[in-house]
């Protein structure tokens, strides 16, 4: 099956990591573990990965990295005292699984 996306590991260094022109040309999506998704078979996606020194990952490899971060966050949440799991403030929700697309 042809891929829709490609994945890489790259750390967002801030200004210039994704510039305005790059963002106009392709869609960037970040995932836990510094995983970035860009279009597959796309010159601009390839150029951006090269620019940021991204390490290419297959979808399955990227999924393993994402899963590890989410599992860690879920475990951390599970170990919280009960009053912090259901706090008056609703921001601290248990992280949910993320499934990457091919």
């Amino acid at each position: 099956m042809a891929k829709t996306y490609q994945y890489c590991v790259a750390e967002n260094w801030g200004k210039g990591f994704i510039d305005h022109v790059e963002s106009q040309r392709i869609t960037f999506v970040s995932f836990p573990g510094n995983i970035w998704q860009v279009p597959a078979y796309n010159k601009h996606g390839n150029l951006w990965i090269a620019k940021v020194g991204g390490t290419l990952k297959t979808k399955d490899e990227a999924q393993v990295i994402v899963d590890a971060v989410i599992t860690s966050a879920q475990n951390a949440w599970d170990s919280l005292p009960d009053d912090e799991k259901a706090p008056e403030v609703e921001t601290n929700k248990r992280p949910t699984d993320i499934i990457l697309e091919e």
Partner: protein, 612 residues
Amino acid sequence: MASYKETKGTAIINYTTANSPAVVEGQLWYDSTNANFKYEYPAVTTVGSWRTGANTTKPASANRGNGTQGIQTAALATGGTTGGAPGRFADVENYNGTSWTEVNNLNVAKQLAISIGTNTATLVAGGNTGSALATTESWNGTCFSEVADLNSAKSTGTGTGGATAGLAVGGTPTPTNANCEIWNGSCWAETNNLNSGRYALSSAGTSTDGLVFAGSPEPAGVALTEKWNGSSWSEVADLNLARLQPGGAGTSSSAALAFGGLNGSSYKNETEQYNGTSWTELNNLNTARFAVGAAGSTTAGLAYAGSIPGGDTQATEEWNVGLPIGAWSTGGSLNGAKQQMGQAGLQNSALAFGGETSTAVTVTETEAYNGTSWTEVNDMNNAFYRMGGAGISGNTAVLSFGGRNSGNTVQNNTESWNATSWTAVNTMNTARDIMGDAGTGNTSALAFGGDSGGSQLAITELYNGTNWAEVADLNDSRSDLTGFGIATSAIAVGGFSPPNTANTELWNGTSWTEVNNINTARQEMSSAGVDSTAGLIFGGDGAPPRTAKTEEWNGVSWVEVADLSTARAYMNGGAGTSTAGLAFGGETATARTAATEEWSSSTVTRETISTS
């Protein structure tokens, strides 16, 4: 080798970054500030799309004139029906691009008339009052007067052209439904017939260069298209979709738009554009309908009213091509990951204050952004999070109000930032957090809604530089909303009411009015905007729990634009303008983040020549 001037006819111009706006599309120029070569090109949409406009004032109106009446920002709706034939009316409404206003009525209540022209000079010919009419009424921008009748009564026909040179085409009764008449400014004269007689058709163009398409027989309609060259009709390429009573817009036989319509019992939202050779399917109407009013062109069209399943609609939609393509790029990251800090300022001059760095750990940290990086500056007096923040002129004059401490107690404290330090000032009347906020800064601010510690609020308070005073409530109580603007012109968006709401309200300095909703109901998004006429919302908590969705407000409606690259919620507040917004901090699917993103929306993209 030939010089650049020899091949392009112009020398390479030397600009500094500061004076470079004079460059033109396709021209290579030298940026002496950054010592590189640049060029630019348009960054606008080339395929049109519909976004909602203001509703017509007449409840449930349809069949408001067949033909094109005006342009997107100056249109006329004439007559029509409410609830079918018994409800024919004479009402006329004028659209100015923002709202519909009732103006003087037709002399005779009617539906299914041929209406052609502008909102200052229109002809309304024929129509139906129970039987087909031959009468014609002329609009002079103020009122209608009767002028010369059609030679044959017509209902459910269409027309091209305008008040001084027009064409009336087809319609019922069926024995004459191929009949065409031409208007010379004074009277109608019969001219060559259509090749395929029909009614419920639509049109575009002028009295010398027109196009008609779709139409009877019922129930499915036809896809037939005919071109008028000023003297005769010829068949050209069919629509992709056969239909009855679509809307039609466009200025010539080679630039037409067909939208909506009825095919059997199916209400259609399909939009097609004709380029002189063929029809191409483009983005659909948001509301499927037939007997839809129409105005404008293939680059700036208007659809209003029409029949929908079970009734009629007041909905208006605007078709646009050539809108700026906005996008998010990364900015300098905060010095520490945090969520629900106070936020204020502009894209290149913003302030982040307070916030929560981990569960129940709130901080007094303040960071200032200069467009490139965040720098820690003097701390707040109180370690709160979920505050309101006001400031639209940069990071030198900001107000922080309300919030919650690490012990989960809501606060009414107010602190004023003067570019150097925070000073405690008079408190709010109602302690609250996760409210909507707006205002110019530490001399004028607006707080609305929020959470008082378990209850959603509608209370609005206005700060005048010294004290807070209660003013008119929101219509809908809610917390976790966002807001943008100033004390006399603001927008309140979304939130938790419960459940998550898409509701939008507009503040005019005195009261809140409900306006068009956002597309995706959510809470804890962030926003940018300096008044109620233009803004952005981005991120939030809804479905999915952390969204990257961005929506743009044009003063009337919301449209989805490019997503954040990092989905997140709980940024709190917001900074920047509708064309230069700033997203920073918040919480992703797994953790608090320090990431910053900058929204830029302009009609031009400027690129640097590189070897990569």
